[in-house]
């Protein structure tokens, strides 16, 4: 993200005369290759214009707001996934953790506890589960991917035991987030919260020591250790930060749908990882940023809305999602070819 956009202009030598045309083209090409989000943004705008031409309801402000609103929960989860993937980690149990947190919150308000206390409990569940994942992985020197694959089953199982498989309806609780509109009823609060999540992650990655450690560990964990970085402690902290983000996501989700099941949030982790990859973070970590993730999530939201608007079979959404990830992989392959000939 940032570092790439800064380096793009300096890395191209200013050639005089007839070569300048070619140089400018290669500069643009290099910039686009280093900033995948530009392509994603162009694709999003293109799809938007196309959809708007076929069905003018697309450009209705209500529809735009609804796209933003529907992208909010995924946005929070994807912002967290951006940090983890850059650091070379994965949390496959995010969906299960969100389900467990949502179930705990719903059971608590149904038992008469105040909403605030339930939300705190939900956050605590999300942060604890995330820390458990990181701690187990560091303790056994195992990849977080496989550890969280194991704990996902455990978390879902606990949620099933708590609910005995019965849906927990809470239609009149937590409505504050999903019903509040700011700026004269235009800006959904839930989207603003999601935006704050991106900004916080962007700040962390770009301006803080924790951010530097994130990139260092993702790029070369042994070098990070030898440079005096406490890799275990950093990993646990990064998962705790992810826990905060998915805890908030769980609150937003229950606020929107008004009920909770152990399967609430299922599949979110994969969509989030997809959005991060579409945004340009390599799956091997060490580089990339949250701006790409923002546009990746937005693109997914626009596509899902577009398929509705064009009355296209909703099954196509899954195909489009898969196709986009393939496209993203293709772009990053292209990037390694354009970016580093040496």
């Amino acid at each position: 993200m940032s570092q790439a956009s800064e380096s793009a202009p300096t890395s191209s030598p200013a050639a005089p005369g007839s070569a300048s045309q070619r140089t400018r083209r290669s500069t643009i090409l290099a910039f686009v290759a280093a900033n995948q989000w530009v392509l994603i943004l162009l694709l999003t705008i293109g799809l938007g214009i196309f959809t708007g031409l076929v069905n003018d309801r697309f450009f209705n402000p209500r529809n735009i707001i609804s796209i933003l609103e529907q992208s909010s929960v995924l946005g929070l989860v994807a912002a967290g996934a951006t940090i983890l993937i850059i650091s070379g980690n994965f949390d496959i149990s995010v969906g299960a953790i969100i389900g467990l947190a949502a179930v705990v919150m719903a059971i608590m308000v149904r038992a008469g506890y105040p909403e605030e206390l339930a939300m705190l409990a939900g956050m605590a569940v999300a942060i604890t589960c995330s820390i458990v994942n990181a701690t187990l992985a560091r303790l056994f020197q195992a990849p977080t991917f496989i550890v969280s694959l194991a704990t996902a089953g455990i978390f879902t199982g606990i949620a099933l035991a708590l609910t005995e498989g019965i849906i927990q309806l809470v239609p009149n609780n937590f409505t504050f987030f999903s019903s509040t509109r700011l700026l004269g009823g235009n800006l959904p609060l839930i989207f603003l919260i999601s935006l704050l999540g991106y900004v916080a992650v962007g700040f962390l990655l770009r301006f803080t020591r924790m951010g530097r450690r994130t990139y260092a560990i993702g790029d070369n964990p042994r070098a990070a250790f030898l440079a005096g970085i406490d890799v275990s402690r950093t990993t646990v902290l990064l998962f705790a930060i992810n826990g905060i983000l998915i805890g908030v996501a769980a609150i937003m989700l229950i606020s929107r749908i008004g009920s909770a099941l152990p399967s609430t949030g299922a599949g979110l982790e994969l969509r989030a990882i997809g959005a991060v990859v579409i945004g340009g973070v390599p799956i091997t970590g060490g580089r990339g940023g949250v701006v790409g993730t923002f546009f990746g999530v937005l693109l997914l939201g626009v596509i899902s809305n577009m398929l509705n608007m064009l009355r296209i079979n909703p099954f196509l959404q899954e195909i489009a999602f898969g196709g986009l990830i393939v496209l993203a992989i293709g772009i990053s392959w292209l990037r390694t070819r354009v970016g580093s000939d040496r």
């Binding site: 380096s7 300096t10 301006f207 260092a216 790029d219 440079a227 005096g228 060490g286």
Partner: protein, 510 residues
Amino acid sequence: MIAQALGTGPEAQAAGHSGPVLSLEHISKTYPGTRALVDVSFDLAAGEVHCLVGENGAGKSTLMKILAGVVQPDQGAIVLRGEAHRNLTPRSALQLGVSTIYQESDIVTSLTVADNVFLGQEPVRAVDVVDANQQRRITQAIIEDLGVDLDPDKLGARLSPAQRQLTMIVRALRFSPDVLILDEPTSSLGQAETEHLLSLVRRLAERGIGIIYISHYLDEVLRVGDRITVLKDGQHVATLPAAGATAEGLVHLMVGRDASAFFVKESVPIGEVLMRVEDYSGPGVPEPATFEVRRGEVLGIGGLVGAGRTELLELLFGVRKPRSGTIHLDGRDSRPRSPREAVAAGLSLVTEDRARSGLFPDRTVRENLATAWNELRGAVVRGERTLADGIVDRLGIVTPSIEQEVKRLSGGNQQKVLIGRWLAVDAQVYMFDEPTKGVDIGAKHDIYGFIAELLKAGRAVVIVSSDLPELLSISDRIAIMRHGRIISTVAAAEATEQSLMKEFLGVTGE
């Protein structure tokens, strides 16, 4: 002979024509921003060892990659046994009799020597079952033919660096090459192993194989080569017979400066004891080690590969967990259990393997320089640019910008970035593990300069080096290690290469 053992040798080898087996004619190659090779011509006769020398970035690697078919030249032709080729692919190069052994020789650690030798061209019995017996038989035949000691059934993971090197040579010979390219073949070998390799290279040449030998070590080049070609900034400088050439003369051609200037150590007054290590032991260092190093002093650590030199540095730096001992440094006692604690205690370590354990290749020069420095400061990063600009200037790091990804820098500049990371935190004791390995002569000179500056500023330096002249000229004292323990400590001024080597090997008497 090898061809007979395999029964697949090209007839051309037997034909024995007199012209060069290989020649490169007016090869040019340009990368965006650099001219890697400019109109370079080069030829190789059968049975000749032709050495390629030059600083990093002189074009040796590019030339080698063009021959191996990995890189295509922009201009020029490759003539093999009288036949001109515009472009080679890795596959066609092999088929035409050009085998290449890269510096970072890749063997698969989970396969045996014989499996590695045949990797990708396994002889197959029914369907897809590998004929392991045939693999073993042929591998054994080549090994015996070479007169070397290697077990075809040994697992890759259990091989020493020298045995890995041998495995790659056996693999290359299986293709009955006319031309064998060796890139820095001795960089991971000890003294005795290097001797073996050099004599093996001579024997291969005697069998009529043309050998291109690329190395930074000029003494090796002078001993093993028939002719030496010097490249500089992508251009051909000279091709001369090895007989009559001198290291100084070659260095002069490579850089246009005198070699003698490089190895003169500035004398720095030696002060009080800065660090005293007492009874330090742990994994890799079974016997408790005790030594001290003073302000302004360089303590060299000598020994053969595997003597425990790197292990000792890693133990002091907390990379390995110490079992016993204390470090008294600047009035404080400690036993760091992680690099983080070691940095806090005033230590730093420039590791040997830059790519694997030093740098963050995808990150910028700025971030690579500031990594350790940031750890000692606040939660929000500030002043990285000023720091990075300062170090880039001070160390003369050649980079278009501090925002350049560090993987795009040359080896010497990468090493400077790694050293710069530790200069930024102002440690008391600087430990270097093979600081000039794989680094060109210009950068080497610079690195000696940084070390001299550290000494003048009252810091202490501990250096592990396998380069004996370097160890002798840079150190004040040399601690000699064997089998994980410090055998003795000698004054560098009183030691010679021969006396050190005897100590390393444990040879007593004269």
